[in-house]
Structure formats: structure tokens, C-alpha cells
């Protein structure tokens, strides 16, 4: 597909996404039509104060997770990478739950951010040998780091006392708590997202091999650190708001690549759109028909089988 057509498709997709956000706010346990939006009555309150911020949060979080997943797949040169699988989300959870246990709610985003960055670099350092990362080592390292961090979270839960149930619910990953207050924080993800898009040529080259990155004019260490930091930053911000929601970052780049191919200049924006759609749909389903089942549970139900499918499809690990 020509690059111009791809951008056209992208613009159309973002238009559809905006329509989907508007459409989703009419769906819910109480049916409300869009015409009531400006009415000022209960309908308008439901849409404007509850459903709209939640829909926007879902779209932002989905977009961010997808962008982070795309970047991690490129940086690890492995299409099984995802913030959830690599333990980035659980790293964020450690930071966030520590602050919850201490009752320092204002510091949750910063702590989640630090935790996510620590986790991603930990996995990168532990899994790479001479700059190479094999899939099996990567997945096992991700599991080990996740398990370790989950244990740390459990310790915090035990000592959290009355805040424990808050941590438990937050861990399951959900959007029921989101309000307009969360939107400015979530919007921060677009800083690292734009950075990733600006570095799309670098990401393309990094996915193509370790040995030629330097001779193609890229400082491999500085660039990788910067972009890993960006992916971890996105994840940290989202985790601090929504808890850990898995598999959006894994599935979105895969679906998008089928249409756009692997060029990150178009893949990242496409992935953003795809992730936003997926999480918006998943959240709308969970709040409407599944009785507020945490959306992280819904994504795991669909994402985990997809992950297994990807593993089975590989010839070697």
C-alpha cells in the first residue's frame, strides 16, 4: 500500500475512533441518547461526568499501551514483547501499591513511573547476552521479574491494612474509577508517544539488527535507553491510573502490522488507534454487560489465547 493511502486510512481511522467514543457513551446499563447530551438533566450528567471521561481514558490508555508495546517489540527485536508480559506493568504496580500502602496517593503516578522504568531495564539487562535477546530467555525473565514484583506487591498489601482492598481492586486493572481528574495525567503519555513517532526511523533500524545500528548513524545505547525510557514512562503513567491491563500492547501492533507493515512511522500511529479501539470496546462491554468486571480481566480473556497462538506459530523459541 502506498504511504499516502496509509496516512489517509489513518485519518479515517482516527475519525471513526472519535465516533466510537461518542457512540460508546450512549451504551450502558442506563440507555441514554446523544440528544440528551446538552439537555442538562440526568442523561447529560451520566454522559458528561461518568461515561465520557471514562471513554476518553480507555482510548488514551489503550493507545498508550499499544504504543509502548510496539516500541518494546522493536527494541527487544521480538514480537512477543508487551508491557504486561515483560513485567513493566508489575514494576509500576510495585511503585503504586507502595504509595497506596503508605497512603501517599499524590505520589502514585511518580512511583508507578519509577517502578515501570526499573522493571523494563531490569528485564533488558537480565535477558540480553552480548546484546542479543532470545525469545525464551526474554519471556522467562519477564515471568521471573513479574513474579518477584507481584510478591513485593503482596508484601505491601499485607502491611497496607485498611488500604488493602483498594490495592486489590486497582491491581485487577479497571477504569471504573476514572474521572475528568485523570485525563490531564493520562494526556502526558503523548509526550513519549510523540518522541517514539519522531524516532520511528531509528526504531526501524534497531529492529533490523544489532551490528549495523552504529554504521547507519544511530547511537545504539543512548537511543535504546531513551526509547525504553519512553515506553516505560507511558506504561508507568497508565498503570498509575488504571492498574495493570494486559495484552493490549501485544495484540495492537500485531493487528496493525497486518495492514500497515512494519514501518514504525505508520505502525505507531496505527497502533495507537487500534489500541484505543480495543480498550474502548473491552471497557464498554465490561461496564455494560459484564457488571463492571475489571477490563484487565476482559483483555486477558482475549489476549492470553492470542499470545498462545503467537507462540504456537513460531518455529523456535
Amino acid at each position: 500500500m502506498k504511504i499516502r493511502n496509509q496516512y489517509l486510512l489513518l485519518i479515517i481511522s482516527f475519525g471513526l475512533l472519535a465516533l466510537a467514543v461518542l457512540g460508546s457513551v450512549t451504551i450502558g446499563p442506563v440507555p441514554v441518547s446523544l440528544s440528551q447530551f446538552t439537555g442538562g438533566g440526568t442523561g447529560s450528567q451520566i454522559i458528561f461526568d461518568i461515561r465520557l471521561p471514562r471513554a476518553i481514558a480507555a482510548a488514551f490508555a489503550g493507545a498508550g499501551l499499544a504504543a509502548a508495546g510496539t516500541a518494546l517489540q522493536a527494541l527487544f527485536r521480538n514480537d512477543l514483547a508487551d508491557p504486561y508480559i515483560l513485567g513493566t506493568s508489575s514494576g509500576g504496580a510495585v511503585g503504586a501499591s507502595l504509595m497506596m500502602a503508605l497512603g501517599l496517593m499524590a505520589l502514585i503516578p511518580a512511583a508507578a513511573f519509577v517502578g515501570a522504568i526499573t522493571a523494563v531495564f531490569l528485564v533488558y539487562l537480565l535477558a540480553s547476552r552480548d546484546g542479543r535477546i532470545s525469545t525464551s530467555v526474554l519471556l522467562l525473565t519477564g515471568i521471573a521479574v513479574s513474579t518477584f514484583f507481584s510478591a513485593v506487591v503482596s508484601v505491601f498489601m499485607v502491611f497496607a491494612g485498611t488500604n488493602m482492598h483498594q490495592i486489590v481492586f486497582w491491581l485487577m486493572g479497571g477504569l471504573w474509577n476514572t474521572s475528568w481528574n485523570d485525563i490531564p495525567l493520562l494526556s502526558l503519555i503523548f509526550v513519549p508517544v510523540i518522541l517514539l513517532i519522531l524516532y520511528s526511523r531509528d526504531l526501524n533500524i534497531i529492529t533490523c539488527g544489532d551490528s549495523e545500528t552504529q554504521t547507519l548513524g544511530i547511537d545504539p545505547h543512548r537511543t535504546k535507553l531513551l526509547l525504553l525510557g519512553a515506553a516505560a514512562g507511558i506504561t508507568g503513567i497508565i498503570v498509575s491510573v488504571t492498574g495493570s491491563i494486559g495484552f493490549i500492547g501485544l495484540v495492537s501492533p500485531h493487528l496493525t502490522r497486518l495492514i500497515t507493515g512494519p514501518n514504525h512511522a505508520i505502525l505507531i500511529p496505527g497502533s495507537l488507534c487500534c489500541g484505543a479501539f480495543l480498550l474502548l470496546i473491552a471497557d464498554t462491554i465490561s461496564r455494560t454487560w459484564l457488571g463492571e468486571l475489571p477490563v484487565g480481566v476482559v483483555t486477558a480473556f482475549f489476549g492470553a489465547p492470542f499470545f498462545l497462538f503467537l507462540i504456537r506459530r513460531r518455529e523456535e523459541l
Binding site: L198, N204, T207, S211, E212, Q214, T215, L216, G217
Partner: protein, 423 residues
């Protein structure tokens, strides 16, 4: 003028193990240098240091007078291009996209590729013969095709120094020669190339300089003539080389003899009856394998005679266009009767050289080998059947036929194994 590349006292390697020990090298514009050396000699390590994949531990590497570590990466990318030995690209980029990556050091971060970049890519695709794959995915190509794409990317990069790490490992023979000529062509103006090669003769034919690495140090550096000497090849590769000459270009051409066969065979004396060039290859092979070869009567104008002289063999010879004299026939009979083996090649036989094969009656027939390559089982006989009769008689008595040099050598070995003439 500063050299394009200056390597001084370079030490590099992995963790505690230094692979390269004090390498020196000066590369000027328009040089095409082939790096040769056995496995573990540090060839790839050296290229990795130049490509900045491995750190310089000690010493310095200067590119256009600038230290490698101080060069900003974008500038480095315009100075040095690299074709890796192998590459696994996990995502299905189009060939065009991959080659365009070569232009990255030339394109400002906030700009899209320009007309010049597109032209460079199209040119590189055309030169390497991958234009027809331009829209295909890199993951759908064969190993050789993929390697050509990576060479195209390096050409599009238009760097001053091109590094190639065994770039032809998976490439078809005819593409190999096309690509290496292309690389040599590209070494013009202010450019140079350094390649690691497995094939000594390919490197000798195309590179103007060879760098022979051995145990992490420079064993020799210079023209193929200076580097590919018997001593260097024996010491470095532990082979028994035979050095010929490429008939077209005149550069050295290396044949390799199987080293295991050398000591077992060395004490056997073999009389070779040949002529008209039919014995030249066998003569070289046997001599280099270590047999003591004596040549039966040859005309001084015969090409076999010239080869025998160049190898320093003992030869009985006659002036051109004369029959074998009685004196020389007796000399030959003496030689044959004392020899361990006698070999006759598919030389045309007339009355002039008939004494050559008549002499074979003086050796046990089982010690005679008839070396008849390709041409079948017959020798061109201009004696009205006398020569054929004699040879048939020898065959009946136990003389063996061989159709290749390999067969001859293995027949000779069977004898040396059993110790006597019993086959």
C-alpha cells in the same frame, strides 16, 4: 594528507580475552583490502571494532584523522558502511525500506527522504540486481537474496569506507563475482573497502591488498604476491599449498593439498611417463603431496617438461623433434626398475616415444598405474597397435587404471600401507 583509516596498536576482544593484539593498519583511498586468516584469527573481531560493535581496549582507530570514539554517530554513518555476516530481520520490511535505511545518516531527523536519497536507493537496487524484489518483503527472500539487499543498503549509504564480513557466504557463484566486481568498482574517488573473505582465491583475484591475520596479529600485509607465499600459507592455515597463477590476471592462485597424506607418501619414488601436457596436473599434485617424482623421457618443448622443470623435478629429456635415444632409454629403464611405482598418462604414443612405455616391462606390472582421465580407456596409438597391445598386456598382468588424480593418490597410498607391491 590524513589516511582514510589508521589503526594503531589496536587491542580488542571479549571480557578478559584479547582477540586482537596490537594491530597496525593504514588504509588510503581507493584501496580494496581482503582480510584472510583461519578461524579465530580475529578477522570478524577486527571488523566489529571498525564498525563500533566492539570497544577499542587499547590503541587507537582514526577515521579521517578523527578518533572512532569521538565521532558523532551520524558522521560515523556517513564514513563507514557495514555488511554483516548474517542478519535475521524479524519483521517483514520491504526490500525498498531496508535499502532506504542506508540513507539514514544522510537524512535529517525531522525530514523525509529527498530526491537524492531515492536516486541513491534506486541505483543500489539496480546495481545489485534486486530491483525486481523492491516491493517484496525481506523475510520472503532466500539467504543469498537477502545478502544482496544488505549489500545494496551499504552501497546506497555511500560511505567512504565499506566493511564486508564474509558477504558472499550464501550467494550464488555468478552473483559473487558480479558483486565483488561491483564493490571494487565502488572503491573509487575517496573511497575504500575492507572485506573478510573465506575464499583466498576470490580475495586474491579482486583485492589489491591482502591482510593476513594470525592469532590476533598481522602476519602479512601487502599485494597478493607478497602475502600469499608458501611459508605464510603453511604457517597460518596449516596447509600444504600449491601456488599457481591465475592465467588471466597473473595473481597467485592457491591449491590445497590434503595435509594428512603428506608424511606417509614422501619416501616413494614414482616414475611418470607423460607428455603433451597430459601429466602436468598430476605431476604438481604428486610433487606437492610429497612423492619423489621422476619424469620419463620428455621433449624439451613439451609443456610437461616445462612444468617438471618449474617444480625442480628430475627429468630425462630429449631435444625437440627427436626420437628417444638409446642412451636415454637405458637411463629410463634403470630409473623404472628402481622405482616404487610407475604411472603412464594418456599421452599420444608414436614410434618416437614408444621406448617410454616399453620401459614399463622392467617393473612389476602391478606397480603400474594407467592414468586415463575422461578420455575413456584408450590411449591414442600411432604405432599401429603396438602400444595398445603392450598396455593391454600390462593390464592383464595386474596394472591398474585410474581416472582421476584422487584415484591415483589413493592407489599409491594402498601400496604404502601394505608396505610392498601387493595390492
Amino acid at each position: 594528507m590524513t589516511a582514510l583509516l589508521k589503526v594503531k596498536d589496536l587491542v580488542a576482544g571479549y571480557q578478559s580475552h584479547d582477540v586482537l593484539k596490537k594491530i597496525q593498519l593504514l588504509v588510503d583511498e581507493q584501496m580494496f583490502i581482503g582480510i584472510l586468516g583461519p578461524n579465530g584469527s580475529g578477522k570478524s573481531t577486527f571488523l566489529q571494532v571498525l564498525a563500533r560493535s566492539l570497544k577499542v581496549k587499547f590503541g587507537s582507530v582514526l577515521i579521517n584523522g578523527m578518533d572512532l570514539n569521538d565521532l558523532p554517530f551520524r558522521e560515523f554513518g556517513r564514513a563507514v558502511g557495514y555488511v554483516p555476516q548474517e542478519n535475521s530481520i524479524p519483521f517483514s520490511y520491504s526490500v525498498y525500506d531496508i535499502v532506504m535505511m542506508g540513507r539514514n545518516p544522510h537524512i535529517p531527523r525531522f525530514r523525509a527522504p529527498g530526491v537524492e536519497d531515492e536516486k541513491a536507493v534506486a541505483n543500489a537496487l539496480k546495481q545489485t540486481g534486486v530491483m525486481e524484489f523492491a516491493d517484496r518483503s525481506i523475510t520472503s527472500l532466500s539467504g543469498g537474496e537477502r545478502q544482496r539487499v544488505l549489500i545494496a543498503r551499504a552501497l546506497a549509504q555511500d560511505a567512504e569506507l565499506l566493511l564486508l564480513d564474509e558477504p558472499f557466504a550464501h550467494i550464488d557463484l555468478h552473483h559473487q563475482y558480479e558483486l565483488i566486481s561491483l564493490i571494487r568498482e565502488s572503491v573509487r574517488g575517496k573511497k575504500a573497502a575492507i572485506g573478510v573473505f573465506h575464499d583466498i582465491n576470490l580475495a586474491a583475484a579482486y583485492c589489491d591488498h591482502l591482510l593476513l591475520l594470525y592469532e590476533g596479529g598481522v602476519r602479512a600485509f601487502g599485494s597478493p604476491h607478497d602475502v600469499l607465499t608458501k611459508e605464510n600459507l603453511e604457517d597460518v592455515f596449516k596447509i600444504k599449498p600449491f601456488l599457481g597463477e591465475n592465467p588471466v590476471t597473473g595473481v597467485p592462485f592457491v591449491f590445497v593439498m590434503d595435509e594428512e597424506r603428506v608424511p606417509r607418501a614422501s619416501d616413494q619414488v614414482i616414475v611418470l611417463i607423460s607428455g603433451a601436457g597430459s601429466g602436468a596436473c598430476l605431476m604438481k599434485a604428486l610433487n606437492n603431496t610429497g612423492y619423489r617424482v621422476r619424469c620419463g623421457v620428455l621433449s624439451e618443448q613439451d609443456s610437461d617438461y616445462q612444468v617438471a622443470m618449474s617444480l625442480g623435478l628430475e627429468v630425462i629429456s630429449e631435444p625437440p623433434f627427436s626420437r628417444i635415444s638409446l642412451e636415454h632409454e637405458e637411463e629410463l629403464i634403470d630409473l623404472v626398475s628402481k622405482a616404487d611405482r610407475a604411472i603412464v598418462t594418456a599421452v599420444p604414443i608414436g614410434w618416437g616415444n614408444y621406448p617410454n612405455i616399453r620401459a614399463l616391462e622392467r617393473i612389476h606390472a602391478e606397480k603400474v598405474i594407467l592414468y586415463l582421465p575422461e578420455s575413456g580407456n584408450h590411449i591414442m596409438d600411432y604405432t599401429g597397435g603396438a602400444a595398445t597391445t603392450l598396455l593391454n598386456h600390462l593390464t592383464e598382468q595386474g596394472a591398474v587404471r585410474a581416472h582421476s588424480i584422487g584415484e591415483v593418490v589413493s592407489l599409491l597410498e594402498m601400496v604404502s600401507d601394505s608396505g610392498s607391491c601387493v595390492l
